[in-house]
Symmetry: C2
Subunit: 199 residues, 2 copies
């Protein structure tokens, strides 16, 4: 005996999501059967809407339902700083901190020779054009992840942008707040010593 | 700044699934944006189809797209045995073993005083009616889980059905195949000794 067709298809769909195998997919599918009907309908609509209504901002590459995005349209933001991130969700993470009030630029990835990702696969050329067009930009903060690929991308951008006389900075490395020195890895500790500040 | 509406709604929907918190929901929602459009459409359709097309078999309580279900309609199956399980997915699990060829009955839960689940909340009365109607049934195998609630439900069913002269059995307890005695818990070992067989 096989699963009824409807549920077999739903299991297949759940399995296409990252980190969800056949057992979890089956559990989720059976859970869906017992879910509130309105919730399921909304879920179904949200899936298609996400695919249809969202696109990337033509200026910064951030996810948006309007073009240009909310941040690029907002003239009260500091127009002299651009913070470069890997993915659209990093923009949301930075916005939650409420410490940064400038503009953003989303690369949609990092340089990765292993995955065959070169500069032309990233949203880099539009950043360069943006810098050439808007002369107001004084600083580019490269906030790619603290991975080897993220570091390499930061170095690449720095070499590309610095000759134009624009300051290029990188987020500070160091101990996480609340963390134990005992459990910190050596590279992080080394960076924390290098970047020590006077108190 | 907030997430665009479409993705915020999708994150909310993913969060309604069991075991998925806000971080995983966000990750899944962003993954959905980059998914193949056909896959997303199919996912969306499968959700609604699962909710609309599936219902429970009026005889055994199993999930089905036709009523009665495939197993209840199949007259070649052994009509003298009914295997009682907690959930529809347990039927699939048993069917995969291909050792059992009788009928099923799905309880949709177990007796659980803590969750306030009594006999009237389970699919028990229809099982009793079924046994009274079809005189052919000679054995009821109670295959509820080996949890305290599953055991209690098995005992309850046994007391209810035995007086009618129908044999009530329970799946064997013992060591999992391939497991180490060293790591077996005491109760399982005790049951394994009790249920030892001659070789």
């Amino acid at each position: 005996m096989q699963y009824p067709e409807a549920i077999a298809k739903l299991i297949d769909s759940y399995m296409k999501l990252p980190g969800i195998g056949s057992k979890t997919a089956t559990r989720l599918a059976f859970y869906t059967i017992d879910m509130n009907e309105d919730d399921v309908k909304e879920f179904s609509k949200a899936l298609v809407a996400t695919k249809n209504d969202l696109h990337y901002c033509s200026i910064c590459g951030n996810l948006t339902d309007e073009d240009p995005c909310e941040i690029c349209r907002d003239k009260t933001r500091d127009q002299s700083t651009i913070l470069v991130v890997e993915e659209p969700k990093d923009v949301m993470v930075m916005e939650k901190v409420q410490e940064y009030h400038g503009l953003y630029h989303v690369l949609h990835g990092v340089l990765s020779p292993i995955e065959g990702k070169g500069p032309e696969d990233l949203n880099i050329s539009s950043l360069i054009k943006r810098l050439q067009k808007i002369k107001a930009v004084k600083e580019v903060i490269v906030a790619t992840n603290a991975t080897p690929e993220g570091e390499a991308t930061a170095m690449y951008l720095s070499k590309l942008i610095k000759p134009a006389g624009i300051k290029v900075t990188r987020l500070a490395h160091g101990l996480s707040v609340g963390s134990d020195i005992e459990y910190a890895d050596e590279v992080t500790l080394f960076k924390a010593v290098q970047g020590r500040t006077e108190i």
